[in-house]
């Protein structure tokens, strides 16, 4: 059995005869289609009587000879003829390529689409905030609808389980600030001011901000993924038909838990960060803990703590809302859950940092330096 399909050319009665032999399959088709292009005669006769195997690609070649060159096919077995007929039937003007778009136009179009989506997200978030306020009002008027269990469970997931990672992260950040600060301040012989740096930056900014980023990564994403998959499996719709408002049952507990826990976690993070810095000062700068604590009490004003405690619940609100909002936007397929989860984290962190900048300006204006 020969592996190659070959063909020989003869001329009989003024007509060119192509005699194929061997396997006329995809394996040999590349060489064949090149060779066939060199055959320029019209009104061919294609003889398949020596062909051992024919597949659809081979049949396609034969069909093209018949279609483009007016070839006559002879010597095909019944099965081969059936295959050629089948391929012939399938030969229809099929659109294989997507329509070409000008790259410049596409960029402009995508910018437009992105702007449109951004606008709709902002409007959607505002609407979502409104809906949340309404259901908060409902719950306030009907305290029986306050789901203590659901909220307690979110407390555990958002708060308790985050303690270790938030604590460790803040502790390490405290050490890094102390170390970097000490290196710079040493040049002025002002190492003692490392304590000011640690105390004020931890309490005022880093404690809350780092916690917010960690909560957005841990809980904001989890909210989006949970609600998203619940929407996919039609759980949310089932809730609505039973008469339970998803806003009250799913969104409210998550937002409330995050709003309450963010100040607590933020405060905890600030303390851990100060401890980290304190340990570094003790070991590297020979500042004993007693001196460290005393100085912290002198240099960190109470307003720093107020700032942190005012910012934290707002950040918590934003993170939880972004997560829940994106989760509730999921429609269609599982791929979207992933996209929405990413969006929830990105929007959560972005909005937190934008608001943090506003807060900084605001607090400076009112004299909380």
């Amino acid at each position: 059995m020969s592996v190659t399909a070959d063909f020989s050319r003869d001329v009989e009665d003024g007509r060119c005869i192509l005699r194929f032999s061997g396997n006329l399959t995809i394996l040999r088709v590349r060489k064949l289609s090149e060779q066939l292009k060199e055959v320029d005669a019209e009104h061919l006769i294609v003889d398949l009587s020596d062909v051992e195997r024919l597949d659809t690609v081979g049949a396609w070649l034969v069909h093209k000879l018949e279609r483009d060159r007016g070839a006559t096919i002879v010597g095909a077995t019944e099965d081969q003829q059936l295959l050629i007929d089948h391929v012939t039937q399938a030969d229809q003007p099929v659109k294989v390529k997507r329509d070409y778009e000008m790259p410049l136009l596409r960029v402009v179009g995508e910018v437009g689409v992105a702007a449109n989506i951004a606008m709709r997200t902002i409007v959607g978030l505002l609407g979502f905030f409104g809906a949340l306020l309404i259901s908060t009002g409902h719950i306030a008027r009907h305290p029986r609808r306050f789901r203590l269990n659901a909220i307690a469970q979110q407390f555990e997931v958002v708060g308790v389980r985050a303690l270790f990672i938030v604590g460790l992260m803040s502790f390490l950040v405290g050490i890094v600030i102390a170390q970097q600060g000490a290196v710079q301040l040493r040049q002025f012989g002002a190492e003692i001011y490392t304590i000011n740096l640690i105390g004020r930056s931890s309490v005022k900014e880093l404690g809350v901000l780092m916690t917010a980023i960690m909560v957005a990564g841990r809980s904001g994403s989890a909210f989006a993924a949970q609600l998203g998959s619940m929407k996919l499996s039609e759980e949310v719709d089932a809730m609505r038909t039973i008469g339970v408002s998803p806003m009250e049952a799913l969104v409210f507990p998550r937002v409330l838990a995050t709003v309450i826990l963010m100040p607590l976690l933020g405060f905890y993070a600030a303390i851990l960060s100060i401890i980290g810095g304190g340990i570094f000062c003790w070991i590297s700068l020979d500042i004993p803990p007693v001196t460290f604590i005393q100085r912290i009490r002198e240099v960190v004003p109470m307003t720093d703590l107020w700032q942190a405690l005012i910012k934290a619940p707002v950040f918590g609100m934003i993170i939880a809302m972004a997560g829940c909002f994106q989760g509730m936007q999921v429609e269609g397929n599982a791929e979207e859950v992933g996209l929405r989860t990413t969006a929830a984290v990105v929007q959560g962190i972005f909005l937190v940092i934008v608001l943090d900048a506003f807060f900084a300006v605001f607090f400076t204006e009112i004299g909380w330096l």
């Binding site: 995809i26 394996l27 590349r30 659809t56 690609v57 391929v87 294989v96 397929n333």
Partner: protein, 264 residues
């Protein structure tokens, strides 16, 4: 090779996940040119059986050969020449979502036969899409733009890209409406006749079984309890088989099949 040769042979197959044994001493044979159906209750390991045969799941024990070549313990490179002789349609179609239908069809061709020119590749993708019963504008679409039924047809088109001799279908009609399912059955029959395919078909669909399967294997109690044509299976005194074929749905499918035969 001619009709009647053994294409797939499974001997003494054993599969388990942890302590749960899915298959125990399972054996079956699929002959060339037949449409071989596999039925069984949920959890009897129909998909696991298919995955074992195509080498996605390594069995604990047993011998599997396809086209007379043993498939156990072969690495991917060695099994390549066997792999290009079969096509697989997974349950959800499993199309590559970042590629258009035409590009999906071209993936196996480019993989196994590099160097074909673009024009020919496009022509092949074009006639494969029409052959699988897709509309002429479907080839340029992405899988997410297709309906479930069209996705399955596109999956078949990709499975047929290399002109395989053997086609594995995992619940091809699941999730299709009755009209779409019947058309799909018809498509499989036509392709079998035109391309001389052997088809290994997992299904829950009684209509499909009656309409196109030459022989049916029943999976129960971790092995194949019976193989045969549907009349042969009906004559058996096995509780699950009787429940399956003589239940209300089974009777309805049988009635339709009889009516169609009477008309023909």
């Amino acid at each position: 090779m001619t009709r009647g040769d053994t294409v797939i042979e499974v001997q003494g197959l054993r599969n388990s996940f942890g302590k749960q044994i899915v298959h125990e001493d399972l054996s079956l044979e699929v002959k060339r040119g037949e449409i071989f159906g596999v039925v069984g209750g949920s959890g009897t390991g129909k998909s696991v059986l298919m995955r074992s045969i195509i080498g996605l799941q390594t069995p604990d024990e047993g011998e599997i050969s396809v086209f007379g070549e043993s498939m156990i313990g072969r690495d991917d490179e060695e099994a390549k020449h066997v792999r290009r002789r079969w096509g697989v349609l997974f349950q959800g179609g499993a199309l590559f979502s970042t590629l258009t239908v035409a590009e999906n069809i071209q993936v196996p061709i480019k993989e196994f036969y590099p160097g074909l020119d673009r024009e020919l590749l496009d022509e092949i993708a074009a006639y494969k899409t029409t052959m699988s019963g897709l509309s002429t504008d479907a080839a340029a679409k992405y899988p997410s733009e297709l309906s479930g039924g069209m996705r399955k047809r596109a999956g078949i088109a990709r499975a047929l890209a290399l002109d395989p001799e053997l086609l594995f279908l995992d619940e091809p009609t699941a999730g299709l409406d009755p009209i779409g399912a019947a058309a799909f059955d018809q498509l499989i029959l036509e392709l079998r006749d035109a391309l001389g395919l052997t088809v290994f078909l997992i299904t829950h669909d009684l209509d499909t079984l009656y309409a196109i399967c030459d022989r049916v294997a029943v999976l129960a109690d971790k092995r194949v309890v019976a193989v045969g044509t549907i009349p042969e299976l009906l004559a058996l005194d096995h509780e699950w088989i009787q429940d399956y074929f003589k239940g209300p749905r089974g009777r309805a499918a049988a009635a339709i099949s009889e009516r169609e035969e009477a008309e023909a």
